[in-house]
Protein backbone atom coordinates (compact mmCIF):
# COMPACT_ATOMS: atom_id res chain seq x y z
CA UNK A 1 0.00 0.00 0.00
CA UNK A 2 3.00 2.26 0.35
CA UNK A 3 3.01 2.85 -3.40
CA UNK A 4 -0.67 2.32 -4.19
CA UNK A 5 -2.04 5.06 -1.94
CA UNK A 6 0.25 7.80 -3.35
CA UNK A 7 -0.60 6.69 -6.92
CA UNK A 8 -4.30 6.94 -6.04
CA UNK A 9 -3.77 10.40 -4.48
CA UNK A 10 -1.89 11.50 -7.59
CA UNK A 11 -4.67 10.28 -9.86
CA UNK A 12 -7.48 11.86 -7.82
CA UNK A 13 -5.67 15.20 -7.50
CA UNK A 14 -4.92 15.37 -11.21
CA UNK A 15 -8.31 14.22 -12.41
CA UNK A 16 -10.05 16.78 -10.21
CA UNK A 17 -8.13 19.57 -11.96
CA UNK A 18 -9.10 18.17 -15.34
CA UNK A 19 -12.75 17.55 -14.42
CA UNK A 20 -13.32 21.06 -13.10
CA UNK A 21 -12.48 22.38 -16.57
CA UNK A 22 -15.48 20.50 -17.93
CA UNK A 23 -17.93 20.71 -15.01
CA UNK A 24 -19.23 24.28 -14.45
CA UNK A 25 -21.55 23.23 -11.61
CA UNK A 26 -21.02 25.65 -8.69
CA UNK A 27 -21.22 23.06 -5.86
CA UNK A 28 -18.63 20.85 -7.51
CA UNK A 29 -16.43 23.86 -8.31
CA UNK A 30 -16.41 24.90 -4.66
CA UNK A 31 -15.10 21.44 -3.68
CA UNK A 32 -12.30 21.79 -6.24
CA UNK A 33 -11.68 25.30 -4.97
CA UNK A 34 -11.05 23.87 -1.49
CA UNK A 35 -8.56 21.35 -2.92
CA UNK A 36 -6.73 24.18 -4.66
CA UNK A 37 -6.42 26.17 -1.45
CA UNK A 38 -4.99 23.07 0.23
CA UNK A 39 -2.55 22.59 -2.64
CA UNK A 40 -1.21 26.15 -2.20
CA UNK A 41 -0.43 25.38 1.45
CA UNK A 42 1.23 22.01 0.72
CA UNK A 43 3.35 23.54 -2.08
CA UNK A 44 4.52 26.24 0.34
CA UNK A 45 5.62 23.52 2.76
CA UNK A 46 7.58 21.92 -0.11
CA UNK A 47 9.63 25.11 -0.40
CA UNK A 48 10.31 25.06 3.33
CA UNK A 49 11.40 21.44 2.88
CA UNK A 50 13.95 22.63 0.34
CA UNK A 51 15.21 25.15 2.84
CA UNK A 52 15.53 22.48 5.54
CA UNK A 53 17.51 20.40 3.09
CA UNK A 54 19.93 23.26 2.48
CA UNK A 55 20.57 23.50 6.23
CA UNK A 56 20.96 19.73 6.54
CA UNK A 57 23.42 19.39 3.64
CA UNK A 58 25.57 22.31 4.77
CA UNK A 59 25.50 21.19 8.39
CA UNK A 60 27.04 17.85 7.34
CA UNK A 61 29.79 19.68 5.42
CA UNK A 62 30.54 21.89 8.43
CA UNK A 63 30.50 18.93 10.81
CA UNK A 64 32.93 16.92 8.66
CA UNK A 65 34.99 20.05 7.86
CA UNK A 66 34.47 19.38 4.16
CA UNK A 67 35.39 21.63 1.23
CA UNK A 68 34.84 25.36 1.86
CA UNK A 69 33.33 24.61 5.26
CA UNK A 70 33.97 28.12 6.71
CA UNK A 71 31.89 29.54 3.84
CA UNK A 72 29.10 27.08 4.65
CA UNK A 73 28.93 28.57 8.16
CA UNK A 74 28.44 32.00 6.57
CA UNK A 75 25.73 30.53 4.34
CA UNK A 76 23.78 29.04 7.25
CA UNK A 77 24.25 32.17 9.38
CA UNK A 78 22.95 34.38 6.54
CA UNK A 79 19.93 32.11 6.17
CA UNK A 80 19.07 32.22 9.86
CA UNK A 81 19.73 35.95 9.99
CA UNK A 82 17.03 36.59 7.38
CA UNK A 83 14.57 34.29 9.15
CA UNK A 84 15.34 35.96 12.48
CA UNK A 85 14.81 39.53 11.30
CA UNK A 86 11.92 38.64 9.03
CA UNK A 87 9.90 36.25 11.15
CA UNK A 88 11.11 36.05 14.75
CA UNK A 89 11.52 39.80 15.22
CA UNK A 90 8.01 40.23 13.79
CA UNK A 91 6.51 37.67 16.18
CA UNK A 92 8.31 39.32 19.10
CA UNK A 93 7.01 42.71 18.01
CA UNK A 94 10.46 44.26 17.49
CA UNK A 95 10.06 47.49 15.52
CA UNK A 96 12.58 46.81 12.75
CA UNK A 97 11.34 43.24 12.35
CA UNK A 98 9.04 41.89 9.68
CA UNK A 99 9.07 42.65 5.97
CA UNK A 100 7.53 46.11 5.82
CA UNK A 101 9.18 49.23 4.41
CA UNK A 102 12.07 50.33 6.66
CA UNK A 103 12.68 46.89 8.17
CA UNK A 104 16.13 45.27 8.42
CA UNK A 105 14.86 42.50 6.16
CA UNK A 106 13.95 45.04 3.51
CA UNK A 107 17.33 46.79 3.80
CA UNK A 108 19.26 43.54 3.42
CA UNK A 109 17.16 42.59 0.40
CA UNK A 110 17.79 45.86 -1.43
CA UNK A 111 21.45 46.24 -0.51
CA UNK A 112 22.70 42.67 -0.43
CA UNK A 113 20.43 40.19 -2.18
CA UNK A 114 19.52 42.45 -5.07
CA UNK A 115 23.12 43.42 -6.05
CA UNK A 116 24.34 39.85 -5.55
CA UNK A 117 21.64 38.28 -7.69
CA UNK A 118 21.81 40.95 -10.35
CA UNK A 119 25.58 40.64 -10.63
CA UNK A 120 25.48 36.84 -10.77
CA UNK A 121 23.32 37.11 -13.87
CA UNK A 122 25.36 40.01 -15.28
CA UNK A 123 28.38 37.68 -15.44
CA UNK A 124 26.57 35.86 -18.23
CA UNK A 125 27.17 38.80 -20.57
CA UNK A 126 30.90 38.21 -20.42
CA UNK A 127 30.58 34.47 -20.88
CA UNK A 128 28.23 34.72 -23.86
CA UNK A 129 30.68 37.03 -25.62
CA UNK A 130 33.58 34.71 -24.84
CA UNK A 131 31.58 31.69 -26.00
CA UNK A 132 30.54 33.48 -29.19
CA UNK A 133 34.19 34.21 -30.00
CA UNK A 134 35.52 30.74 -29.23
CA UNK A 135 32.73 28.34 -30.16
CA UNK A 136 30.47 30.01 -32.73
CA UNK A 137 31.80 28.46 -35.94
CA UNK A 138 29.99 28.68 -39.25
CA UNK A 139 30.88 25.25 -40.59
CA UNK A 140 27.65 24.14 -42.30
CA UNK A 141 24.75 25.72 -44.17
CA UNK A 142 22.51 25.27 -41.12
CA UNK A 143 25.08 26.93 -38.84
CA UNK A 144 25.29 29.83 -41.27
CA UNK A 145 21.48 30.18 -41.21
CA UNK A 146 21.68 30.36 -37.42
CA UNK A 147 24.54 32.87 -37.50
CA UNK A 148 23.01 35.15 -40.12
CA UNK A 149 19.68 35.22 -38.30
CA UNK A 150 21.40 35.92 -34.98
CA UNK A 151 23.38 38.80 -36.46
CA UNK A 152 20.37 40.30 -38.24
CA UNK A 153 18.31 40.13 -35.06
CA UNK A 154 21.14 41.45 -32.84
CA UNK A 155 21.81 44.47 -35.04
CA UNK A 156 18.24 45.04 -36.20
CA UNK A 157 16.85 45.16 -32.69
CA UNK A 158 19.07 48.00 -31.47
CA UNK A 159 18.95 51.70 -32.47
CA UNK A 160 22.25 51.53 -34.38
CA UNK A 161 20.69 49.01 -36.77
CA UNK A 162 17.92 51.43 -37.60
CA UNK A 163 20.52 54.15 -38.15
CA UNK A 164 22.48 51.91 -40.57
CA UNK A 165 19.38 51.04 -42.61
CA UNK A 166 15.95 52.48 -41.96
CA UNK A 167 14.12 49.24 -42.81
CA UNK A 168 16.33 47.04 -40.61
CA UNK A 169 13.72 46.89 -37.81
CA UNK A 170 11.05 45.86 -40.33
CA UNK A 171 13.26 43.03 -41.61
CA UNK A 172 13.92 41.89 -38.04
CA UNK A 173 10.21 42.05 -37.23
CA UNK A 174 9.46 39.95 -40.34
CA UNK A 175 12.04 37.34 -39.26
CA UNK A 176 10.46 37.20 -35.78
CA UNK A 177 6.89 37.01 -37.13
CA UNK A 178 7.34 34.48 -39.92
CA UNK A 179 10.26 32.01 -40.11
CA UNK A 180 11.20 32.31 -36.42
CA UNK A 181 7.58 31.98 -35.37
CA UNK A 182 7.11 28.87 -37.51
CA UNK A 183 10.07 27.14 -35.85
CA UNK A 184 8.95 28.15 -32.36
CA UNK A 185 5.39 27.01 -33.02
CA UNK A 186 6.58 23.60 -34.20
CA UNK A 187 8.63 23.24 -31.01
CA UNK A 188 5.65 24.44 -28.95
CA UNK A 189 3.23 21.92 -30.44
CA UNK A 190 5.75 19.09 -30.12
CA UNK A 191 6.54 20.00 -26.52
CA UNK A 192 2.82 20.22 -25.69
CA UNK A 193 2.26 16.71 -27.02
CA UNK A 194 5.21 15.46 -24.98
CA UNK A 195 4.07 17.23 -21.81
CA UNK A 196 0.52 15.90 -22.13
CA UNK A 197 1.70 12.32 -22.67
CA UNK A 198 4.09 12.51 -19.70
CA UNK A 199 1.34 13.96 -17.50
CA UNK A 200 -1.03 11.17 -18.56
CA UNK A 201 1.62 8.60 -17.69
CA UNK A 202 2.05 10.18 -14.25
CA UNK A 203 -1.71 10.30 -13.61
CA UNK A 204 -2.28 6.69 -14.65
CA UNK A 205 0.62 5.47 -12.52
CA UNK A 206 2.81 4.34 -15.43
CA UNK A 207 5.42 6.94 -14.44
CA UNK A 208 6.40 6.49 -10.79
CA UNK A 209 9.88 7.94 -10.44
CA UNK A 210 8.56 10.66 -8.10
CA UNK A 211 7.86 7.94 -5.52
CA UNK A 212 11.54 7.20 -5.14
CA UNK A 213 12.86 3.83 -3.95
CA UNK A 214 11.15 1.39 -1.59
Amino acid sequence: MRREIPIAICFLAGISFILEYFIPHQRILSVFETFRQWAIIVIAFAYVLGLANIVRVNYHVIQKKGRDWPYKIILVLSLFFMITVGIIFDILGIRSGGIAEGSIFNWVYYNAQYPLQATMFALLAFFIASAAFRAFRIRTFQASLLAVTAILVMIGRVPVGERLWGSFPDLTEWIMNVPQLAGKRAIMIGAALGAISTALKVLTGLERTYLGGE
Binding site: Q37, Y110, F126, A129
Partner: protein, 278 residues
Amino acid sequence: MEKLERLDRRIIFIFIFLSIAIPLLLPVNLDFSVTPPVQSFYDAIEELPAGSKVLVSCDYDPGSMPELFPMNVAVFYHLMSRDLKVITIQLWATGTLLAELAMAEVLEDFPDKEYGKDWVNLGFKEGREVVMVSMGTNIPKTFPSDSRGNKVEDLPIMQGVNTYDDIALFMNVSGGLPGTKEWVLQVQSRYHVKLGSGCTAVSAPEFYPYVQSGQLVGLLGGMKGAAEYEKLVQRPGTAQRGMDAQSVSHIVVFLFILIGNIAYFSVKGAKKRLKASR
Protein backbone atom coordinates in the same frame (compact mmCIF):
# COMPACT_ATOMS: atom_id res chain seq x y z
CA MET B 1 45.97 34.11 -36.33
CA GLU B 2 46.57 31.15 -34.03
CA LYS B 3 47.28 33.55 -31.19
CA LEU B 4 44.05 35.36 -32.03
CA GLU B 5 42.12 32.08 -31.91
CA ARG B 6 43.54 31.38 -28.46
CA LEU B 7 42.95 34.93 -27.18
CA ASP B 8 42.74 35.16 -23.37
CA ARG B 9 39.07 35.52 -22.52
CA ARG B 10 39.85 38.25 -19.98
CA ILE B 11 40.69 40.54 -22.91
CA ILE B 12 37.23 39.79 -24.32
CA PHE B 13 35.77 40.64 -20.89
CA ILE B 14 37.54 44.03 -20.91
CA PHE B 15 36.16 44.85 -24.36
CA ILE B 16 32.63 43.94 -23.25
CA PHE B 17 32.90 46.08 -20.13
CA LEU B 18 34.19 49.06 -22.14
CA SER B 19 31.49 48.59 -24.80
CA ILE B 20 28.95 49.21 -22.04
CA ALA B 21 30.72 51.72 -19.80
CA ILE B 22 31.77 54.18 -22.53
CA PRO B 23 28.29 54.66 -24.08
CA LEU B 24 26.84 55.14 -20.58
CA LEU B 25 29.44 57.80 -19.81
CA LEU B 26 29.19 59.43 -23.27
CA PRO B 27 25.59 58.93 -24.44
CA VAL B 28 24.63 59.63 -28.07
CA ASN B 29 20.87 58.96 -27.60
CA LEU B 30 20.20 57.36 -30.96
CA ASP B 31 16.52 57.45 -31.84
CA PHE B 32 14.51 54.30 -32.50
CA SER B 33 11.04 53.35 -33.69
CA VAL B 34 8.34 51.45 -31.83
CA THR B 35 7.64 47.89 -32.97
CA PRO B 36 4.08 46.56 -33.49
CA PRO B 37 3.94 44.22 -30.43
CA VAL B 38 4.85 47.11 -28.12
CA GLN B 39 2.39 49.43 -29.84
CA SER B 40 -0.37 46.81 -29.37
CA PHE B 41 0.48 46.55 -25.67
CA TYR B 42 0.20 50.32 -25.33
CA ASP B 43 -3.07 50.48 -27.31
CA ALA B 44 -4.65 47.77 -25.13
CA ILE B 45 -4.25 50.03 -22.09
CA GLU B 46 -5.29 53.16 -24.00
CA GLU B 47 -8.59 51.50 -24.95
CA LEU B 48 -9.68 50.96 -21.34
CA PRO B 49 -12.14 53.42 -19.79
CA ALA B 50 -10.98 55.27 -16.67
CA GLY B 51 -11.68 53.37 -13.46
CA SER B 52 -11.20 49.92 -15.04
CA LYS B 53 -9.33 47.42 -12.93
CA VAL B 54 -6.06 46.01 -14.22
CA LEU B 55 -4.21 43.10 -12.66
CA VAL B 56 -0.42 43.32 -12.92
CA SER B 57 1.51 40.22 -11.96
CA CYS B 58 5.14 41.12 -11.23
CA ASP B 59 6.89 37.77 -11.56
CA TYR B 60 10.60 38.55 -11.60
CA ASP B 61 13.67 38.89 -9.44
CA PRO B 62 16.71 41.17 -9.21
CA GLY B 63 18.45 38.98 -11.78
CA SER B 64 16.22 40.34 -14.52
CA MET B 65 15.68 43.78 -13.07
CA PRO B 66 17.55 45.83 -15.71
CA GLU B 67 15.13 44.55 -18.36
CA LEU B 68 11.92 44.25 -16.41
CA PHE B 69 12.01 46.97 -13.76
CA PRO B 70 11.89 49.83 -16.31
CA MET B 71 8.91 48.23 -18.04
CA ASN B 72 7.24 47.59 -14.66
CA VAL B 73 7.65 51.28 -13.82
CA ALA B 74 6.43 52.36 -17.27
CA VAL B 75 3.36 50.09 -17.07
CA PHE B 76 2.43 51.38 -13.61
CA TYR B 77 2.97 54.94 -14.84
CA HIS B 78 0.76 54.39 -17.87
CA LEU B 79 -2.00 52.80 -15.77
CA MET B 80 -1.91 55.60 -13.19
CA SER B 81 -1.90 58.30 -15.86
CA ARG B 82 -5.05 56.77 -17.40
CA ASP B 83 -6.79 56.67 -13.97
CA LEU B 84 -6.97 52.91 -14.05
CA LYS B 85 -7.08 50.89 -10.84
CA VAL B 86 -3.99 48.75 -10.30
CA ILE B 87 -4.11 45.41 -8.50
CA THR B 88 -0.66 43.91 -8.32
CA ILE B 89 0.25 40.40 -7.27
CA GLN B 90 3.46 38.38 -7.39
CA LEU B 91 4.02 34.69 -8.03
CA TRP B 92 7.74 35.09 -7.30
CA ALA B 93 8.65 35.90 -3.69
CA THR B 94 11.35 38.27 -4.94
CA GLY B 95 8.78 40.26 -6.91
CA THR B 96 7.00 41.70 -3.88
CA LEU B 97 9.59 44.28 -2.89
CA LEU B 98 10.39 45.06 -6.53
CA ALA B 99 6.73 45.81 -7.27
CA GLU B 100 6.64 48.11 -4.22
CA LEU B 101 9.82 49.82 -5.42
CA ALA B 102 8.37 50.33 -8.93
CA MET B 103 5.16 51.76 -7.56
CA ALA B 104 7.03 54.04 -5.13
CA GLU B 105 8.90 55.51 -8.09
CA VAL B 106 5.66 56.13 -10.02
CA LEU B 107 3.77 57.58 -7.06
CA GLU B 108 6.25 60.49 -6.96
CA ASP B 109 4.43 61.66 -10.13
CA PHE B 110 0.98 60.89 -8.69
CA PRO B 111 0.95 61.97 -5.05
CA ASP B 112 -2.87 62.01 -4.97
CA LYS B 113 -3.18 58.27 -5.63
CA GLU B 114 -4.27 56.37 -2.52
CA TYR B 115 -3.31 52.89 -1.43
CA GLY B 116 -6.34 50.66 -1.16
CA LYS B 117 -8.39 52.94 -3.40
CA ASP B 118 -6.33 53.46 -6.57
CA TRP B 119 -3.88 50.63 -6.17
CA VAL B 120 -3.19 47.63 -3.99
CA ASN B 121 -0.43 45.09 -3.58
CA LEU B 122 -1.96 41.73 -2.76
CA GLY B 123 1.52 40.32 -2.30
CA PHE B 124 3.15 37.01 -3.10
CA LYS B 125 1.38 33.68 -3.11
CA GLU B 126 3.04 30.29 -3.49
CA GLY B 127 1.56 27.75 -5.89
CA ARG B 128 2.32 29.04 -9.38
CA GLU B 129 -0.35 27.70 -11.77
CA VAL B 130 -2.56 26.58 -8.88
CA VAL B 131 -2.78 30.20 -7.72
CA MET B 132 -3.61 31.36 -11.26
CA VAL B 133 -6.44 28.84 -11.60
CA SER B 134 -7.63 29.48 -8.05
CA MET B 135 -7.94 33.22 -8.67
CA GLY B 136 -10.15 32.50 -11.65
CA THR B 137 -12.93 31.33 -9.35
CA ASN B 138 -12.19 33.19 -6.13
CA ILE B 139 -9.66 35.99 -5.80
CA PRO B 140 -10.44 37.00 -2.16
CA LYS B 141 -10.09 33.38 -0.99
CA THR B 142 -6.72 33.04 -2.73
CA PHE B 143 -5.53 36.42 -1.38
CA PRO B 144 -7.40 36.88 1.92
CA SER B 145 -5.13 39.79 2.85
CA ASP B 146 -2.81 42.17 1.02
CA SER B 147 0.96 42.47 1.44
CA ARG B 148 0.47 44.88 4.37
CA GLY B 149 -1.84 42.60 6.33
CA ASN B 150 -5.12 44.39 5.48
CA LYS B 151 -8.13 42.18 4.88
CA VAL B 152 -9.00 42.24 1.19
CA GLU B 153 -12.72 42.71 1.86
CA ASP B 154 -11.93 46.00 3.66
CA LEU B 155 -10.17 47.54 0.65
CA PRO B 156 -12.32 49.79 -1.60
CA ILE B 157 -10.43 48.79 -4.75
CA MET B 158 -11.27 45.12 -4.17
CA GLN B 159 -15.02 45.70 -3.82
CA GLY B 160 -16.76 43.71 -6.51
CA VAL B 161 -13.55 41.90 -7.51
CA ASN B 162 -14.23 38.20 -7.08
CA THR B 163 -13.18 36.46 -10.27
CA TYR B 164 -11.33 37.23 -13.47
CA ASP B 165 -14.59 38.50 -14.98
CA ASP B 166 -14.24 41.56 -12.76
CA ILE B 167 -10.86 42.53 -14.23
CA ALA B 168 -10.57 44.39 -17.53
CA LEU B 169 -6.97 43.62 -18.45
CA PHE B 170 -4.10 41.47 -17.26
CA MET B 171 -0.46 42.37 -17.46
CA ASN B 172 2.38 40.03 -16.65
CA VAL B 173 5.95 41.20 -16.06
CA SER B 174 7.72 37.89 -16.45
CA GLY B 175 11.24 36.85 -15.52
CA GLY B 176 10.81 33.13 -16.15
CA LEU B 177 8.81 30.31 -14.59
CA PRO B 178 6.07 30.89 -13.51
CA GLY B 179 5.41 33.66 -15.97
CA THR B 180 3.80 34.58 -19.25
CA LYS B 181 3.62 31.04 -20.60
CA GLU B 182 1.77 29.84 -17.51
CA TRP B 183 -0.56 32.87 -17.60
CA VAL B 184 -1.36 32.09 -21.24
CA LEU B 185 -1.91 28.38 -20.67
CA GLN B 186 -3.82 28.51 -17.39
CA VAL B 187 -5.60 31.86 -17.49
CA GLN B 188 -5.88 33.24 -21.02
CA SER B 189 -6.82 29.97 -22.73
CA ARG B 190 -9.20 28.92 -19.93
CA TYR B 191 -10.88 32.22 -19.04
CA HIS B 192 -10.33 34.07 -22.36
CA VAL B 193 -9.02 37.21 -20.72
CA LYS B 194 -7.03 40.04 -22.31
CA LEU B 195 -3.40 39.44 -21.43
CA GLY B 196 -0.31 41.48 -22.19
CA SER B 197 3.25 40.50 -21.41
CA GLY B 198 6.53 42.18 -20.59
CA CYS B 199 9.30 39.63 -20.54
CA THR B 200 13.05 39.17 -20.68
CA ALA B 201 14.59 39.15 -24.14
CA VAL B 202 15.51 35.48 -23.64
CA SER B 203 11.82 34.54 -23.49
CA ALA B 204 10.46 37.00 -26.05
CA PRO B 205 10.99 34.89 -29.23
CA GLU B 206 8.92 32.02 -27.84
CA PHE B 207 5.99 34.34 -27.11
CA TYR B 208 5.65 35.64 -30.67
CA PRO B 209 3.32 32.71 -31.53
CA TYR B 210 1.03 33.86 -28.70
CA VAL B 211 0.92 37.39 -30.13
CA GLN B 212 0.12 36.07 -33.61
CA SER B 213 -2.64 33.78 -32.26
CA GLY B 214 -4.17 36.63 -30.24
CA GLN B 215 -3.49 34.97 -26.90
CA LEU B 216 -1.36 38.00 -26.02
CA VAL B 217 -2.62 41.51 -26.80
CA GLY B 218 0.95 42.83 -26.84
CA LEU B 219 4.52 42.01 -25.96
CA LEU B 220 7.41 44.01 -24.50
CA GLY B 221 10.62 42.08 -25.13
CA GLY B 222 13.65 42.91 -23.02
CA MET B 223 15.27 46.26 -22.44
CA LYS B 224 14.51 47.39 -26.01
CA GLY B 225 10.81 46.69 -25.45
CA ALA B 226 10.99 48.63 -22.20
CA ALA B 227 12.72 51.54 -23.97
CA GLU B 228 10.06 51.62 -26.70
CA TYR B 229 7.34 51.64 -24.05
CA GLU B 230 9.06 54.44 -22.12
CA LYS B 231 9.05 56.40 -25.39
CA LEU B 232 5.32 55.79 -25.89
CA VAL B 233 4.35 56.83 -22.36
CA GLN B 234 6.81 59.74 -22.60
CA ARG B 235 8.65 58.87 -19.42
CA PRO B 236 12.34 58.35 -20.22
CA GLY B 237 14.01 55.91 -17.87
CA THR B 238 16.93 53.54 -17.48
CA ALA B 239 15.88 51.42 -20.46
CA GLN B 240 16.18 54.30 -22.91
CA ARG B 241 19.41 55.29 -21.22
CA GLY B 242 20.83 51.84 -21.82
CA MET B 243 20.08 51.69 -25.55
CA ASP B 244 23.40 53.20 -26.65
CA ALA B 245 25.28 50.64 -24.56
CA GLN B 246 23.06 47.92 -26.01
CA SER B 247 23.90 49.06 -29.55
CA VAL B 248 27.65 49.14 -29.01
CA SER B 249 27.79 45.85 -27.12
CA HIS B 250 25.86 44.08 -29.89
CA ILE B 251 28.30 45.38 -32.50
CA VAL B 252 31.21 44.21 -30.35
CA VAL B 253 29.70 40.71 -30.04
CA PHE B 254 29.12 40.64 -33.80
CA LEU B 255 32.75 41.60 -34.38
CA PHE B 256 33.91 38.88 -32.00
CA ILE B 257 31.89 36.28 -33.93
CA LEU B 258 33.34 37.60 -37.20
CA ILE B 259 36.94 37.71 -35.96
CA GLY B 260 36.59 34.30 -34.33
CA ASN B 261 35.44 32.75 -37.58
CA ILE B 262 38.08 34.54 -39.68
CA ALA B 263 40.79 33.31 -37.31
CA TYR B 264 39.36 29.78 -37.29
CA PHE B 265 39.11 29.48 -41.09
CA SER B 266 42.54 31.11 -41.60
CA VAL B 267 44.20 28.64 -39.25
CA LYS B 268 42.25 25.76 -40.76
CA GLY B 269 43.25 26.85 -44.27
CA ALA B 270 46.89 27.21 -43.28
CA LYS B 271 46.91 23.73 -41.72
CA LYS B 272 45.32 22.29 -44.86
CA ARG B 273 47.90 23.98 -47.09
CA LEU B 274 50.72 22.72 -44.84
CA LYS B 275 49.35 19.19 -44.99
CA ALA B 276 48.98 19.38 -48.79
CA SER B 277 52.55 20.65 -49.24
CA ARG B 278 53.87 17.66 -47.25
